[in-house]
């Protein structure tokens, strides 16, 4: 393994020397963000390589208004909120799911199946599944909607916060951050949508897109490939995660998404409204749609109290540039979602990187 690492490092060094300028590479996956920090990858890269954490953490990109809607539903006595663990501590208006007095109404689930089971076990409650995540978790949500429909379960609702990765990358490049030189594309999402999904980014924006796995050596090889392309003035689509990711992806998972969801315009934290970037349940399944059944309308929610998570998500600033970072915003007292989620950039900086800040910034 070490030989592959050295080889990747050499290739990154060569590219940096040839280019002579800073290279900004964005990873669009929270798991990559954590792996990069946890393995100390930044510390073995040349200073000219800047890694930006993009909108790849599902909890972080979820708009504030969605969080507030969940908190509101948690206040209803007849509602039971089924949520993935990361969402529990995200602050909203009047607290978080963790701090609310209504915690009895909040259950952490590990899968959509758990959420559906909760509905079966609590027939007198309206179980609302807080369905966030990208194309990776959307198929699992589709599966339980299908099951709920087949089994005639009437107390199960989905508050779909599912999002699509590629429209967010387009939004970033076209109107938010022009300094991104290339993308380290998400391994998990690519397993579902196939690496060909990123072809439009390469074609329309001339940015290298390289899909990589999560082992440190895979990440380094992905970065090396991006650097190589940039240094020779090319932009290509490539996967260095061939064991898992294919060109076309998981077609049956894609079919599940297409059967139950349709792309809709939607709000992202930091990126604002993006056309056809979220997944809403099709009208056919509106009886499971918590937005419709509980009369929730989507409105854009602003970041609260000076929180700059939105800019962090777009790679415009690094977490320590936010005035709240490490001062009022810590994992113990998170102000924004990027400090809450285990996959958030701020949490990763705080946990693994903050003491090395001076070194990293050279």
């Amino acid at each position: 393994m070490l030989e592959r690492i050295y080889k990747a490092q050499r290739s990154i060094d060569t590219a940096c020397e040839r280019l002579g300028r800073q290279i900004n590479i964005m990873e669009v996956c929270g798991t990559h963000t954590v792996a990069i920090f946890r393995n100390g990858i930044k510390s073995i890269l040349p200073k000219k390589i800047k890694l930006l954490s993009g909108p790849g953490c599902p909890v972080c990109v979820t708009d504030q208004s969605y969080i507030d809607s969940v908190l509101k539903l948690a206040d209803c006595d007849d509602c039971l909120i089924a949520t993935y663990g990361d969402m529990v501590r995200v602050p909203g208006k009047g607290g978080s799911l963790e701090t609310k007095r209504t915690t009895a109404n909040v259950k952490v689930v590990l899968s959509s199946e758990d959420a559906l089971q909760l509905a079966k076990d609590n027939p007198k409650k309206n179980v609302v599944f807080v369905a966030v995540g990208f194309e990776t978790t959307a198929p699992a949500t589709a599966v339980v909607v299908k099951e709920a429909a087949e089994q005639g379960i009437n107390n199960f609702f989905v508050l779909s916060g599912h999002k699509l990765v590629v429209p967010a990358m387009r939004a970033l490049l076209s109107r938010i951050n022009h300094n991104i030189d290339g993308f380290l594309c998400p391994g998990h999402v690519s397993a579902i949508i196939g690496y060909s999904a990123f072809a439009e980014i390469v074609q329309d924006f001339a940015r290298p897109c390289v899909v990589a796995g999560f082992e440190p050596v895979q990440i380094l090889e992905g970065l090396a490939e991006i650097c190589r392309q940039i240094s020779v003035g090319k932009a290509e689509l490539k996967s260095v995660y061939s064991a898992v990711v294919t060109e076309k992806g998981n077609v049956s998972a894609q079919k599940m998404i297409a059967e139950f969801f349709e792309p809709a315009d939607g709000y992202w934290r930091g990126l604002g409204k993006i056309k056809k970037s979220t997944l809403k349940l099709k009208d056919k399944y509106s009886r499971f749609d918590a937005f419709k059944q509980f009369g929730i309308t989507e409105t854009p929610g602003g970041d609260t109290n000076g929180c700059r998570c939105g800019e962090v998500l777009c790679g415009l600033i690094e977490p320590p540039q936010c005035a709240l970072f490490e001062r009022s915003c810590t994992p113990q007292t998170p102000v924004g979602p990027c400090m809450v989620s285990s996959e958030g950039a701020c949490a990763a900086w705080f946990k693994y990187g903050r003491q090395r800040l001076n070194d990293d910034n050279g």
Partner: protein
């Protein structure tokens, strides 16, 4: 006798039912002369008046897990607190807080574990208490144990003697207990059987302390895991710590579970592990003793104490040669989304 299948409030009421519970279910399992007196206090004759004294409460959920149960944990946990303080555990107290309706056969199983763990670790349960509470006032059963250990002659462990260059030893794979509990609690059905490392460490620690001279500090990295223990050392001494990922013993199944759920094993609880900080000269001798003991076969020297540059820091040198900070954990690990 056990006419009842479940615990009634009256089993903690001080009357006939409680007497039956003690005489027929507890005493036979935990038999020793001091406990048999059933006095208000245990009267102990100790070989020395230099003792260690500790207490801990156990509220683990699920009560039964692969590799142990709340009973074994309650005995081993307190034994380990005494052991890493440099003492030889001799006597424990046992207090049970039981929720009304708790099944008698589960209580029997837990008492069997307590009895076995005490016997294996050569300590007596010398005094105890039972309280019962109404449904909902406790979650099935809570256990408190307190323990006394005789300090080993000439042994004085603490932060004070830790110095730059000292080696850090752990006696085996990390994260086994915490991941076992998390996986069973969250009802994740892994095919591989994770198993808690729950075990009493006093035999091994006594052996180390009696046969080597360079051990300066020991702690059992339970809640908060290795990360919490090493950060405490760094904070208390003002020194920094460097550990090497490649040298930290980890079971592949535990690592896989942690990766899948997004947990950092450095933050995960252990119940049969100690961290020892030892002088560089004595590290090899310590390792030899560890590896010759069943609870230390996979022991490793995982790092060392180093000088502080700016602020005291625990750093991990990763497998790829990178460096990153190891923080004090937040305290509650949440499973990640995907």
């Amino acid at each position: 006798m056990a006419k009842h299948d479940t615990i009634l409030l009256a089993h903690g009421g001080g009357g006939q039912l409680m007497d039956e519970l003690i005489r027929h279910h507890i005493l036979p399992k935990l038999k020793n002369d001091i406990l048999a007196e059933l006095g208000d206090s245990a009267k102990l004759k100790l070989a020395s008046n230099s003792i260690c004294f500790t207490t801990d409460s156990y509220v683990v959920k699920p009560l039964f897990f692969n590799g142990g149960d709340i009973g074994k944990l309650a005995v081993c946990g307190t034994i380990n607190d005494l052991a890493v303080a440099g003492s030889k555990p001799v006597a424990l107290s046992l207090s049970l807080v039981i929720e009304e309706g708790f099944k008698f056969d589960l209580l029997e199983k837990i008492l069997d574990s307590i009895s076995q763990a005490a016997r294996e670790n050569n300590v007596d349960i010398v005094t105890g208490d039972i309280k019962t509470v109404e449904v909902g006032a406790a979650d099935q059963i809570f256990i408190n144990t307190a323990g006394i250990g005789i300090r080993l002659p000439g042994v004085d462990l603490g932060f004070g003697k830790i110095a730059v260059g000292d080696k850090i030893i752990v006696n085996g794979t990390i994260g086994d207990h915490g991941m076992t509990i998390i996986c069973q609690r969250e009802d994740i059905k892994f095919r591989s059987n994770l198993k808690s490392d729950c075990a009493g460490l006093s035999e091994l620690t006594c052996c180390l302390l009696e046969n080597t001279s360079g051990i300066k500090f020991m702690r059992d990295p339970t809640r908060g895991g290795l990360a919490a223990t090493l950060n405490e050392v760094s904070r208390a001494t003002g020194l920094s710590i460097e550990i090497c990922e490649a040298d930290i013993p980890v079971s592949p199944a535990v690592q896989a579970a942690a990766d899948m759920l997004g947990f950092d094993l450095l933050n995960i609880a252990n119940e049969g592990k100690f961290v020892a900080i030892v002088s560089p000269e004595s590290a090899d001798a310590c390792m030899t003793i560890c590896r010759n003991h069943p609870l230390g076969k996979k022991a490793g020297i995982i790092g060392q104490v180093v000088k502080t540059r700016d602020v005291p820091l625990v750093e991990l040198i990763t497998k790829i040669g990178g460096r990153r900070v190891v923080q004090m954990p937040y305290g509650r690990e949440l499973p990640r989304i995907c």
